[in-house]
Amino acid sequence: MGVIMKVTYFPGCTLKNKARDLDEYGRKSAEVLGITLEEPKAWQCCGGVFTTANDEIATKLSSVRLLRSAKDADQPLVTVCSACHNVVKQTNHAMKNDIVFRDRVNRYMAEETPYNGETTVYHYLELLRDVVGFSNVAMAVKKPLAGKKIGAYYGCLLLRPGKVLGMDDPENPRIIEDLIVALGGEPVIYARRNECCGGYVSAESPALAEKNSGKVIDNAAAAGAEMLVTACPLCKYNLEKYSSKLPIVYFTEILAEALGIKEEVNE
């Protein structure tokens, strides 16, 4: 496949450290699928969670800088971590639609031209669905997942708030399931795939994370899933820490596997 698009790629902090798999499998797969990921020279952490209070400015500036660098490069911005995606997309939405917030941010940053939410933000999954197309992904598959029963775990950050993120139906998402089908696997639908794993509250209340993660995995296992895929390092951490019932992998890993480049990445 030739290069079909160049995009600004934001890996985020965790993908440089504990979630290298999510990053590296994603980079290599994008290459195969004709997407050139260009990482900005300098970026800062998104902050991990979006603060909904409309008087919070400083905590959203790193995202605005990132969005602006994509605008300057005249490229869409792609994130792969659910949390980064949530923060960056919500910030962009606020920059586009909340005039008071936008003006305050622009005055504070005092750049020559204001940023008004012009950048298109894609999650890596949206890039596969809307730019590459799942049918083209399917054609690039070298080692189909051969009917493997895989449960998609969306958690909360990938889908909600639905009206802001606009990624998929927040109560009945299909995007990861459709990817699994494209890769030759068999998606397993289970109701708790959009319920929270416990998130950052595991720092304060491990018991809550244990309960929530356990419920998610039990529900997936009861529905017949043999493994779960996620796009979020924190989800993966919580699910693995509190239940060993099912293997949890990043969606980029099964993508790389099906594209036949998993070994290449690990070399």
Binding site: N172, A191, A223
Partner: protein, 665 residues
């Protein structure tokens, strides 16, 4: 020069409380054309009307201005008063100094000032008024009812009973509508079929009623008293007049895998089918989407087994043109799609069903022969959760739900819950509600019986998530009274889905030029005083097409609509509204602007010969208004670039005179 009388009404203290009525009468005395001015406590009373009549005689008035309430309230009253005194009723103008003045002002000074301005504007207009005479048109003594549910059937029966012929157009192969799918009806629990099917048979046997089943209205023209309607009779591939309804074809048809819409897809039917045993007309229909013969030309089993020879694979859609005096819309409702409410797992589990599906599951003629069995495994459910208001009262979800209350759900859920407990006392029933709304005769008592006699668990709170796991449905919900989050392992979850107007309503409204609200319910001419008439003359509303309603209310409205139709059809002639548009042909440049904006299709163009100044003649294209169709909205007068189009009673110079009178202040 007009001789105008001004009559200022106090309306008790309604007007006089904030408007100095004497000052208004005094101030208007000096206006051009005014020869008499007075005020009185209640101008609409007999004594008040007499003041007007006497003044007309004594002062030889040629026009009058009544400063009072909204013309919607008493314009007709004062026009009659004027007519009784020998004055043309269109020489009466109302200055609305109540709704538009006294009620919205707080101090006497500004209230009085504004009342005087409004009075002056009305006087300025009357100075330019001319007597108007309404035209007359004939009435076709036949009614059309669109939709053959309980609303349409009742309306048709009542019209037919009065001796007028009436046609029912029903898009499905049988009449009966939603009510035919119901099991029992609240609050008396009589079986829906037992009370509906006799009415269906009555309709079929009534010599004044003609049923066009499997048919749709495709075109409507004309106007009140004289509608021209085209009806498409969809090809059913079975000759309706020959088929005996024996049903042999529906047993022998080899195509067995067609989702049965009557049972909401919970079982299958054949490609040739009769929707249900009591269908009217009891005639088979071939579903062209599934019939092997129609698709591939190979089969023909039904034709072979039909002893009557009713099968006709070459049938085509037919179009019938018919004239009607009145049209009744009875297009009904449907439950909304549950697809976007998957927090309740409707798309994930067969055991999460809608209330209408539940009706079929408990109906003796349904897919389980009336036994309450789980759709997934056919087992008897022991714990059932009902969720109210799914998609109703939903302000945040315009793209999937409805902002309004669907009105019927509280009662049918109480009915379902009660019937389960009555038939299966070993089954626990939970109803999650936001409010229980039971404002109907014997309704609250009915709901209380469900709680007190039948032990249904009513829980104030909403369900947040349903998780299918194994054979159970884990329901996570709020119990607001006890301050708990509940977790119930249910066997069956029933969703009270919001209801919405049938999808056919919107295009039909366009054809009828009848107005709709943002939810696609037909708008009534007045929400309180004219609830069964649409604002379009000759178009009437029956049942859920106008708003959510239960069966008793639907039947009441259906009969009310019928009486309005009868009131129209008994007349030999209709008196029109003389305040209609009129085109000055000499000024008309034939641009069609008016034709394009006319919401009623009242304007056509014709080629007409005109004598030119040089005595030659020239053919010109000019607008012509059909006085029976025009409703006097005035849209054309605004669109007309040459000023040729004018509205009688609201002529451009009259409006400008009013504006001038106001601006002079």
């Amino acid at each position: 020069m007009q001789r105008i009388g001004v009559f200022v009404c106090w309306c008790g203290s309604n007007i006089a409380g904030t408007v100095d009525v004497h000052a208004v009468a005094e101030a208007l005395k000096t206006e051009s054309g005014v020869v008499f001015s007075t005020d009185y406590q209640y101008m609409c009373s007999q004594a008040g009307q007499d003041i007007i009549k006497n003044a007309i005689h004594e002062h030889s008035l040629t026009g009058i201005v009544v400063c009072s309430c909204s013309p919607r309230m008493h314009e007709a009253t004062f026009r009659k008063t004027a007519a009784a005194a020998g004055l043309n009723p269109y020489m009466v103008e109302i200055a609305n100094i109540r709704e538009q003045c006294s009620w919205i002002h707080k101090d006497m000074l500004s209230g009085t000032e504004k009342a005087i301005i409004l009075g002056k504007a009305a006087v300025a207009k009357v100075n330019l008024n001319a007597p108007l005479t309404p035209g007359q048109s004939t009435v076709t003594k036949r009614a059309l009812v669109i939709g053959g549910g309980i609303a349409g059937i009742q309306t048709a029966l009542d019209i037919a009973d009065a001796g007028f012929p009436v046609d029912i157009v029903e898009k499905k192969p049988t009449i009966g509508g939603k009510m035919a799918q119901l099991d029992k009806t609240f609050p008396t629990l009589d079986c829906a079929a037992c009370i509906l099917t006799p009415k269906m048979v009555d309709a079929a046997q009534n010599e004044n009623i003609r049923i066009y089943s499997y048919s749709e209205v495709t075109e409507v023209g004309g106007y009140v008293g004289n509608f021209d309607v085209t009806i498409k009779r969809k090809a059913r591939y079975v000759k309706e007049d020959i088929c005996t309804g024996c049903g042999l074809c529906t047993e022998k048809c080899p195509q067995k895998k067609v989702p049965n819409e009557f049972n909401l897809g919970m079982d299958n039917r054949r490609a040739i089918y009769i929707p249900f045993a009591q269908a009217v007309p009891k005639v088979a229909t071939i579903d062209a989407d599934y019939c092997t013969m129609l698709k591939t030309g190979k089969c023909g089993v039904c034709a072979k087994v039909c002893t009557a020879g009713a099968i006709d694979y070459n049938a085509k859609d037919e179009f019938v043109k018919e004239k009607y005096g009145a049209i009744v819309v009875a297009t009904g409702y449907n439950p909304i799609s549950m697809e976007k409410f998957d927090e309740f797992a409707y798309s994930q589990s067969k055991d999460v069903i809608t209330s209408l599906e539940f009706e079929r599951l408990t109906n003796a003629a349904g897919p389980t022969s009336g036994k309450l069995l789980r759709p997934s495994d056919g087992e008897h459910p022991h714990k059932i959760v009902f969720v109210q208001c799914v998609g109703s009262r939903c302000e945040n979800c315009a793209e999937k739900g409805k902002e309004y209350c669907s009105k019927i759900c509280c009662m049918y859920t109480a009915k379902h819950a009660m019937l389960i407990r009555d038939k299966y006392p070993d089954t626990d029933v939970y109803v999650f509600y936001i409010d229980v709304r039971t404002p109907g005769k014997a309704f609250d008592e009915f709901y209380r019986r469900a709680v007190e006699e039948y032990g249904v668990h009513y829980i104030k709170g909403m369900v947040g998530k349903v998780v299918p796991e194994g054979k159970k449905l884990l329901v996570q919900a709020s119990d607001l009274i006890n301050g708990k989050q509940l977790h119930i392992d249910a066997d069956l979850v029933v969703l009270a889905a919001a209801i919405e107007p049938d999808k056919s309503a919107r295009p039909l409204a366009t054809m009828l030029t009848a107005s709709m609200d943002t939810n696609d319910f037909f708008t009534e001419a007045h929400p309180k005083l004219r609830p069964v008439e649409s604002p379009t003359a000759g178009v009437f509303l029956s049942g859920c097409c106008q708003g959510p309603k239960d069966i008793p209310e639907t039947v009441s409205q259906a009969s009310a609509a019928a009486s309005k139709v009868i009131g129209l059809l008994v007349k030999d002639h209709l008196t029109g509204n003389p305040c209609i548009a009129q085109s000055n042909e000499l000024m008309c440049n034939g641009c069609s602007s008016c034709e394009r904006v006319c919401p009623y299709g009242a304007i056509t163009y014709e080629e007409k010969e005109f004598r030119m100044p040089d005595r030659t003649t020239k053919l010109r294209r000019v607008a012509s208004v059909n006085p029976a169709v025009c409703q006097g909205c005035g849209a054309c007068t605004v669109a007309c670039p040459s000023g040729a189009m004018d509205l009688n009673g609201f002529k451009n110079n009259q409006i400008m005179a009013e504006v001038d009178a106001i601006c002079k202040m």
